[in-house]
Amino acid sequence: MIRGVALMLLVLAAIAVPVGLALALFVAPVEAFQGEPYRILYIHVPSVVAAYLAFAVTFVASVAYLVTRRRRFDHLAGAAAEVGEVFLTLVLLTGPIWGKPVWGVWWTWDARLTTALILWFIFAGYLMLRAWSGPQGARAAAVVAIVGFLDIPLIHWSAILLRTLHPRPTVFRPEGPALPPAMLVILLVNIAAFLLACAAFVTLRLRQETARDALAQTVP
């Protein structure tokens, strides 16, 4: 039975995500250079933000687990990593669909795309390690998560420091967002909606992991 904070987050996300997507598709103005394909921004960037935040939770929870050895931190790290991987998968699916009409190619091995793909493989390995090693592998999984998280600053700085096909950040940059207000507001609505979905999924998965652990301890 889903209830409490998890249910509230799930209901809010179920309302906010369709509203955000409808605003992006039907209300947001068309971009002058790219035309319609730029609307993929409204799902691509929120997916990136949700994935990064979920992996940041995994990083913090993994450090906390290594320090305290409390199982709850391990559960939180696993739950957030799984959700982060789902959103990173969305990033890697929507990116090429956006790239094809704008760059002319689905994929190119430039620094940002490659480091993002490496992050996907690191956390796919992390999830496999957790699934196959059980509670005994919690310490090794925490180390993998901490090392894997260090790829995120590399992804962010790769488009700033290196010559890549991927554009530089247009929202999260020191001099402020480069988007006009009509686009920025709808992007922020979608970021909030995706973060709600991310929080709902993490809360639900955390409860499941905690319940599964409790069950495993009661069954001989």
Binding site: V17, L21, L25, E36, P37, V86, I97
Partner: protein, 36 residues
């Protein structure tokens, strides 16, 4: 426009499939709990 439709449809499908997988695990957990 077809690229946009494909990207949005894929996003909704992935999120819905993941929500479904969580719901199925929730049901499996409840069944296990009931058996005890």
């Amino acid at each position: 426009m077809s690229y946009v439709v494909a990207a949005y449809a894929l996003t909704v499908a992935v999120l819905a499939l993941y929500a479904l997988s969580i719901w199925r695990r929730q049901r499996a957990l409840a069944r296990r709990r009931d058996r005890l």
